[in-house]
Symmetry: C2
Subunit: 383 residues, 2 copies
């Protein structure tokens, strides 16, 4: 897509139709582009706001090919995708960003870590698990991670003692030292086709203890200038090592000793960047569209501090969602309410989020905690 390309006709394909695809599509539609979603679920969140929905799974080669053939550019809202047909199409000159080779690399958390390590990027100590003895190599406690398929705390577990080895993940995995974490940070990095990068502010993620799902995001993080600078440096270096085009979320550990280590990278918009919709000049969702369509990257300036909280399905409920507390929560000033339009809730499913703006980040956090107390996503059926 060069300067003579007619952007008023641009056809974008998105693999995945959840909340990330939904907001990406809304931003692409804002810019007047035509959007097609590939997703197996009828009436998925992104399909509700897009021009076309191809119903197909992420391993359905025929449907993946159809999406790429029908559109000018294809991108992703998730990385758990069959890459074989995409690599073929990519090699034949179809525009797919990030490249399916990068998606493939990132799918394997061990290979991802190895690459970063080889490029001199600080990561926690790790070791491939080839046999049961390897699990004990760092002593206990230790973190075991599945190489493939993990998300939202799934595919990651702590093995506390030797006896816990009985409950090891029964899949290809690696181990990681248990890091003494002070804070979990994240940096969203955009990279365009020319290799130019732009960074969003460093944010702080707080996790739900029960599920290890990211619960609260504070933008900016409460960290020193030095930690901020180093976090950004490491994040940009990581994405330059990958040579990807699009949006990448770099999850970082700040250790109690003050080291900064890369935990993992997501090759797409990320929960830790939801706040950018309300708080930054260009949201991560618009930024990926700009990057993959060869438009200039937008400003990542933080217009206002913000706190984001996820709205997870309440424990004990499933079925058609009911938003308890919506009236009271929307009384909170400078609160923006997102509900994804999923027709079925279950415990801890990501159903929506809210973002609160406030010049004072502590006040934003206080308002967010209030919203979290008030808003409950219940379901039509008690379980």
């Amino acid at each position: 897509m060069d300067k003579n390309f007619n952007y008023s006709n641009l056809k974008l394909g998105i693999i995945g139709g959840g909340q990330l695809g939904k907001i990406m599509s809304q931003k692409a539609k804002k810019m007047g582009f035509h959007v097609t979603i590939l997703d197996p679920t009828f009436n998925c969140p992104a399909a509700q706001v897009s021009d076309k929905h191809i119903m197909g799974g992420f391993h359905d080669k025929e449907k993946l090919e159809q999406l790429v053939q029908e559109t000018d550019v294809t991108t992703f809202e998730l990385e758990h995708v069959d890459t074989s047909i995409l690599k073929e199409l990519f090699d034949n000159g179809h525009i797919i960003h990030p490249s399916p080779y990068i998606i493939e690399l990132i799918q394997n958390k061990y290979e991802q870590k190895k690459l970063l390590d080889e490029k001199g990027i600080p990561v926690p100590k790790y070791k491939n698990v080839e046999n049961d003895e390897d699990l004990s190599a760092f002593g206990f406690p230790v973190i075991q991670k599945a190489k493939m398929g993990g998300y939202d705390g799934k595919g990651v577990q702590m093995i506390k003692t030797k006896a816990d080895l009985a409950y090891r993940l029964p899949t290809e995995s690696f181990i990681e030292e248990l890091v003494d974490i002070d804070k979990e940070l994240a940096v969203i990095v955009a990279r365009n086709i020319e290799g130019q990068t732009k960074c969003y502010p460093v944010v702080e993620m707080l996790f739900d203890d029960r599920t290890n799902i990211c619960d609260i995001v504070m933008a900016p993080a409460k960290i020193s200038k030095e930690v901020e600078k180093k976090s950004i440096e490491i994040s940009v270096k990581s994405i330059e090592a990958l040579e990807g085009v699009g949006i990448f979320a770099v999850e970082l550990f700040l250790t109690k000793k003050g080291e900064i280590l890369v935990n993992e990278i997501a090759p797409r918009p990320h929960n830790s960047g939801h706040y950018t919709v309300e708080a930054c000049a260009t949201s991560q969702f618009e930024q990926i569209i700009r990057a993959v369509t060869n438009l200039p990257l937008g400003s990542t300036k933080l217009i206002s501090p913000a706190v984001m909280i996820n709205l997870l399905g309440e424990e004990g409920y499933e079925g058609e969602p009911f938003i308890e507390g919506i009236h009271d929560a929307l009384e909170i000033p400078e609160l923006s309410f997102h509900f994804y339009g999923k027709t079925f809730t279950k415990p801890y499913r990501k159903m929506g989020h809210v973002t609160i703006l406030d010049d004072d980040i502590d006040m934003a956090l206080e308002k967010a905690m209030r919203a979290k107390d008030i808003l409950k996503i219940k379901g039509s059926k008690k379980i």
Copy 2:
């Protein structure tokens, strides 16, 4: 819709599928609502981002009835609508905001003006035109306005001399004194079902001389505290006089003598409030959804000064639009690009807009003027 209503199922109907309906729908979808658009045009901007499209005209009683029957709440992106069937449905208890009685009143600019005048709101001197002599009652020059159907400078003209009477609008009309305008201002007012109002900042509108279409909007307006206060006071009083629920744009004249007069009121989101998407805590488009669905009104706080410019179809072109300059324009920092997805351009048609944020409003204006110079909406056919 009370606190027990299940908002995850809420069905919203919007009459009109242009750019205003499009952004309204995107905000309703953000909150997870189901949106149906009524519009006669296949693939109109709002239909592209909504769940359902009823193809029908704004005077098609059957289709208007279908929309109201199928949804929980109906609202408007335009006021030129047949109100008879809507009044019937409203009287039978269907939720329609603003009420079709208010839409009907506002459709007639003369009746609108009369009501405001009767409620003590300052308006330019005006007079009903019952016969040709009435056109001369204020001397010349004088403004003649069609009572019904005007928009974007259409249905308004200046009669400069007695000789110009030959070119008078051949329709039911009234005359208005020619006001010595210093600035044209606008205030967006939201009003909810309980009668609570919230005001957006006073903005300044600059008009294209050739077409009298609002061209540039500066938020906030460069006015004294006193003019600001009075503008807000008059605007709120106007909307309280109407007793409408939703979003209302009050267009004001600031005269060279320092008077503030109400020009006219639009009972819906308005071009002068586009900037609220990027610059305010709650956009006018989300605010109308909150108001008509009986949710609390959101904060109207200005997070950053902003300048909005319209992207009108270039003179001399029609057909499939081509966005000239998109690469260069998107290099401008803190610029947000909106393109409506209309498949046909013609001279002066509203095809998109851009909003620029900057802490310094003069800098925002400078960037906006640069974008205006760069971006040209040309068409596939020279005319």
